[in-house]
């Protein structure tokens, strides 16, 4: 019994210690960010590997999610004779929620885990230590460019996800189920507000991009430098990112749309 409580206490303390390290790490990373703009090539290179890697899965998933929304939305709306509003339903669900959230989850699984594994591997093969000994700051050379690339990529990917999703919904709703083409677009245009809906969705994806990339690079940097340690860290990145995205989504939604 005492042992259990003791374990719980250690676990709790360990958690807080990690949280502290994560914040110190973030501080160092942000200090390294200005130097990324001097070596712009590094950023472009990382945007290629972080962003473009996730592009395919984002496009394909966006298409299918949009198509499902089209189907489900139509089935519900047709009972009320409101199937003309399908465009609004699809667009709002994507822009407000599914775009940032699903793109964030996919991004964590595809790019986040890859970032953790890459940095973890660099740590376990002494590449990071080696850089330090060559008087090169790994935060400037390795961590900050990756962090910035992920942070910039996710909002772009989420936007692409939403746009493709709308096309998927259009394809099912207008193409297959016979919703009026003009009504689909004009209702969407009338009801989707730029600052209320689109900007809030973009803010969400910026927050998720920040948090997911932070988790991913931190887990890589903080991992136990063995093969087992790296694989554990990779798993942790995906799990923690998913939890962070979903809980933050609730908080942000409550703040933005909840009238609380």
């Amino acid at each position: 019994m005492v042992e259990t409580i003791r374990k719980l206490g250690r676990w709790g303390l360990g958690g807080f210690e990690r949280l502290g390290r994560a914040h110190i790490f973030l501080f160092h990373t942000l200090m390294g960010v200005p130097s990324v703009f001097i070596r712009f090539g590094l950023l472009v290179q990382q945007m290629m590997s972080v962003g473009v890697l996730s592009l395919l899965i984002i496009v394909v998933s966006g298409l299918f999610v949009g198509m499902v929304l089209g189907l489900q939305g139509y089935n519900t709306l047709v009972d009320f004779g409101a199937e003309q509003s399908l465009g609004v339903v699809v667009a709002l669900s994507l822009v407000r929620e599914l775009g940032p959230v699903v793109a964030g989850l996919l991004f964590a699984g595809r790019a986040g885990s890859a970032l953790t594994a890459e940095i973890g591997l660099m740590k376990s093969t002494e590449q990071l230590s080696g850089m330090e000994m060559m008087a090169v700051d790994p935060f400037k050379r390795v961590i900050a460019p990756r962090f910035l690339a992920g942070f910039i990529s996710l909002p772009l990917l989420a936007t692409i996800f939403s746009a493709i999703g709308v096309i998927g919904g259009y394809f099912v709703g207008v193409g297959l189920l016979g919703v009026d083409d003009g009504a689909f677009w004009s209702q969407m245009q009338a009801k989707v507000d730029f600052s209320e809906d689109i900007m809030n969705g973009v803010i969400k994806s910026i927050v998720f991009g920040f948090v997911v990339t932070w988790i991913a690079v931190f887990e890589g940097y903080d991992c136990v430098p063995t093969s087992e340690g790296v694989s554990r860290a990779t798993t942790r990145t995906v799990v923690h990112s998913a939890l962070a995205i979903l809980s933050l989504d609730f908080v942000l939604t409550a703040l933005m749309f909840g009238n609380i």
Partner: protein
């Protein structure tokens, strides 16, 4: 310091070094002098803290207590920018080579030059080829690190370590995991580079034979202390039991073959008693 007659000859001076990881004391009052222009070996069994010692000298770790001076600079007290300036003058060869895996051999050797100088590409090319030539790998410049054998990777790392013409090179276990031929090559290279470039070398190793052939002087570490010091010749004729066991690779001695614990006979008896109770 100036009262010491040979203070100019000593490049690295370690005094009363204490360092622990968690509750474990790794160093407990270590004193070392690394002389300029010499190859100094630091030996000891795995896990004694040899790698840790190199990281302390390079300022990657901070001691709990004691002084570490490199070229007159007190390493633990340096500011980050001063430390980075010092590190540009120190090359380090990591146990794994630590080559950057996403760029090829040429770019690996060019990496420190590009990071720290503003040389034009043609000059960088010449310098990199010169360094690669000195380790015999000029024609391997386009290979990726994953295509290199262990021995080649270590030689590339060596070329990178001398890229900025350092005053000192730290070698972490340069012989471990090498086949006899590449071992011979590396043994030769360490001595050759040291003498040709006027370097100071610190070789950390547990390979007694190879180290003894190139070292001018050897320190033997155990349990956080220096337990032996001298030329290879002097250590071979030592009368310390521990150093003798280590230098000659005897399986049993002051360091027991058996992991300490319950006596064998007691263990067997305990087993038969238990079966009687059952």
């Amino acid at each position: 310091m100036s009262s010491n007659p040979d203070s100019n000859e000593v490049l690295v001076r370690i005094r009363d070094l204490h360092f622990s990881r968690g509750n474990r004391k790794i160093f407990n009052g270590v004193n070392l002098d690394i002389r300029r222009g010499k190859v100094t070996a630091i030996m000891g069994p795995s896990g004694t803290g040899k790698t840790t010692l190199l990281k302390l000298i390079g300022g990657q770790l901070k001691p709990d207590q004691g002084s570490i001076q490199v070229d007159g600079l007190e390493v633990p007290k340096l500011k980050v920018s001063q430390l980075y300036e010092l590190r540009k003058r120190i090359g380090m060869l990591f146990q794994s080579g630590a080559l950057l895996t996403d760029i090829n051999v040429f770019d690996n050797v060019a990496f420190p030059i590009r990071e720290h100088t503003k040389m034009p590409p043609a000059m960088i090319r010449d310098m990199v080829l010169m360094k690669l030539e000195s380790v015999g790998l000029r024609n391997a410049r386009d290979l990726m690190p994953s295509e290199l054998s262990g021995g080649m990777a270590r030689r590339v790392a060596l070329a990178r370590a001398i890229a900025l013409d350092p005053m000192m090179i730290l070698y972490d276990e340069p012989f471990t995991g090498q086949d006899p031929i590449s071992m011979g090559v590396i043994v030769q290279l360490i001595r050759l580079l040291n003498d040709a470039l006027g370097l100071t070398s610190i070789v950390v190793s547990h390979d007694v034979q190879e180290t003894a052939t190139i070292a001018d002087s050897i320190y033997v570490l155990s349990e956080g202390k220096v337990v032996g010091h001298g030329t290879p010749q002097e250590l071979a004729e030592t009368d310390s039991d521990w150093v003798k066991q280590f230098m000659q690779g005897l399986p049993d001695g002051p360091v027991p073959f058996h992991y300490p614990g319950v006596q064998y006979a007691d263990d067997l008896l305990a087993g038969s008693e238990q079966s009687r109770v059952d």
